[in-house]
Symmetry: C2
Subunit: 260 residues, 2 copies
């Protein structure tokens, strides 16, 4: 347990120094911004970071119950010193977080660099690069044309050309594909078709696809290929593509399936 007045000073000092602050104590929380929320008095951890991020953690889940990014933080004593009020606020959108402490069990400031060291492998970007090394895995004779091409309507993962000179638009997903992935691919396929004015195919490449999404995909005349990849234990290589199996989805000619 700790005096709220001393706490106030320590918080102000820590915020100024861009330290990481951990505050554990009894508090209530109000948020008003993109939604509104209240949290009745109770014991929680408040985490303040050097970049102005604030998050309030209960003793469950990874995600904080309340949070804000890029805030300005202020701090004042209220009710004759029996409460410490912490405010985090932000413009655009206008958001305010108010934390009222009735007591603080613990307060610490840690000097910590504001860096991002994480080296992650196996992201979609990594798989994309792997695939570009050898598109023939997907289909013999497939040649790269472009990758990460920006349209007005989004970013197309891979554009290739097949043996018969058709353009092939490939949308890659690192996990089970859903509706959104299918409609994305559909959009890009049409975009390429319109730009290039040539017959264009669309292939969704993912480890799996939800059943309904598969149905939609087939209705739209798109193709699915199962992507089997393996994560390399650490830093060495990005990932390894183990295999690529065509589920031989019948390429039903596209016939205005959404007609009403």
């Amino acid at each position: 347990m700790q005096g709220l007045s001393a706490a106030k000073q320590e918080i102000e000092k820590g915020v100024l120094a861009k330290s990481m602050l951990t505050i554990v104590g009894d508090c209530s929380v109000d948020y008003l911004g993109r939604a509104t929320s209240t949290l009745a008095m109770g014991k929680r951890l408040v985490l303040i970071k050097g970049d102005g991020s604030v998050s309030i953690h209960q003793n469950r889940l990874v995600r904080p119950t309340n949070y804000m990014v890029g805030t300005k933080i202020s701090c004042e004593l209220c009710n004759g010193g029996s409460n410490l009020v912490l405010r985090a606020s932000k413009q655009r959108p206008k958001e305010d977080l108010t934390i009222i402490f009735s007591g603080i069990d613990d307060l610490k400031a840690y000097e910590m660099e504001i860096v991002n060291d994480l080296r992650l492998s196996g992201s979609e970007r990594d798989l994309n690069e792997m695939l570009m090394q050898d598109l023939s895995m997907i289909e013999p004779g497939l040649k790269p044309v472009n990758q990460q091409q920006h349209f007005q309507k989004g970013v197309c993962d891979i554009i290739a050309e097949d043996r018969e000179g058709n353009f092939v638009v490939i949308e890659l997903k690192r996990r089970q594909a859903d509706y959104a992935g299918v409609t994305q691919l559909h959009r890009y396929m049409h975009e390429v078709q319109k730009m290039k004015g040539r017959k264009t195919r669309g292939i969704l490449l993912a480890p799996d696809i939800r059943k309904n999404a598969k149905n939609l995909l087939e209705q739209l005349g798109l193709e699915f290929a199962k992507l089997d990849f393996e994560l390399t234990p650490s830093g060495e290589e990005k990932a390894k593509i183990k295999g690529l199996e065509r589920k031989q989805s019948k390429i039903t000619e596209h016939m205005h399936p959404q007609q009403g």
Copy 2:
């Protein structure tokens, strides 16, 4: 600074008691699971919660650099006691997080209930309920038929019937609508049409819509209505719908716009 051997015992005790644990110290981190990642030695905050959630925070951003939910945690001394290794692991999917401490600055265990107190207003669900009170806001004579109806293909926010006996499918978004919202609505509209075998309209209800998404929406013969709502400062009411403006999108007859 604190002895690693004592730390080990305190962690084990805290995990058993389902306390919230905060550990600040120098550590390296390896994750192997849905992706792989490594974090070189550096000072971080490790947060362990009573439900087995683990997260590792750097001094920036709301989101942890590494995290896992619902883990089993173990703890051992290595290298003749000069390292403390914390392992969090999980099956289905198989995931492993390894945190190697070379030194611990601070370690605390806090007794804290494992509860979720948060009362949030202004979610899509709240707006949905508000709207159902009076669908005539959207359009005179609109009568409710169903809400949150589950199809095999998803959940339809609101189904109503207009003055002319057409079904009206309404998709509600609490923020600016995008492509995904439009295609969602399109899917549900077709689903209802197929089920009921009657002319069906689709209305996307949102505070705003992205330009490209608006184009797609109009191509698909769907309608947009601007939803203006206000958040009530706190607990009292959920939210207040201030107004609802029809952008008079010409209901172009649907004509196979995605045809190639």
